[in-house]
Symmetry: C2
Subunit: 190 residues, 2 copies
Amino acid sequence: MNYPNGIKKKETFHNISYKNRGMDLESDLNITNQYYRSIDKAHIYKKPTPIKIVKVDYESRHLATIKEAYFQEPSTTDYNGIYKGQYIDFEAKETKSTTSFSLNNIHKHQIRHLKNIVNHGGISFLIVRFVRLDETYLLKAQDLLLFLEKYDRKSIPLSYFQKKGYIIKNKINPRIDYLELIDQIYGGTI
Amino acid sequence: MNYPNGIKKKETFHNISYKNRGMDLESDLNITNQYYRSIDKAHIYKKPTPIKIVKVDYESRHLATIKEAYFQEPSTTDYNGIYKGQYIDFEAKETKSTTSFSLNNIHKHQIRHLKNIVNHGGISFLIVRFVRLDETYLLKAQDLLLFLEKYDRKSIPLSYFQKKGYIIKNKINPRIDYLELIDQIYGGTI
């Protein structure tokens, strides 16, 4: 796999603007996480894209240029960190579909990872944005796993997000306040 | 900063063998974390090296080759994950010095990050290997921060690791069982 979704998507989305939003989900999350850090609310980061480096030119001691490298499949989710002493771990994806979220968007080992985090007491979830609907959902990893156990389907219908998920309202600052939902969902337990 | 320690070190260490050890700290930690995952003890990963991609060749739909990229300074530590429901976060470094660990090895924002993790209730530490002594120490982030507050020095003497740190014994499997020490240090609290 030399062509991760992240990169491909960016290419696509740069040329299209949906409603009043010029930002993609990744940018929104980066800004949101930066905001959380700035007010010392949570320390959650996006992991760097995994890259296999093949050739490096060491032109000088302090300037190394990577001349050949390839994208690698991520073995975990994109985001993790700490909030109220709890381990937070999630994956974020956009879809252009208006009816469902294709499970091709998540790799098997990412699902295994989400399962491990749940089993070890972490707070784990999926953030999915239906770009054309301008709707962003938070779905607990438990509910994702439940869906996968119950149904043999290649995509999760929007209705499942509407029923089991939580909608994340677009705000100015932070742009997508997912921790507000985490507070609501986990209530007094964190 | 286009030349992170990780890359530089590997280059250096490939040609030198110390005592019976052929492996560097990063490899030892990767194998150890893999072992922890395989027995479902903990889910701790090394973050990918942050890289700024400048030029990509999209030769075909499924093969993208990065043709120009640069190493970036990491904004956090290298390792994080979950153990017994707790957020774990640490940095690992090797030194060839036999007397002290230079603080040039850790960036200011990494120290700030370790401080944030401690303040938010995570378990945070430093693993330092004195390669020529074949000694690997675990130093709690709290004791690193204490040192920085107390002393205006450019390096931490080995004696501080001997006094405040915990030695990680070399084992066969896992190679460096740092979670055994975490159990000892945090005892019944986790």
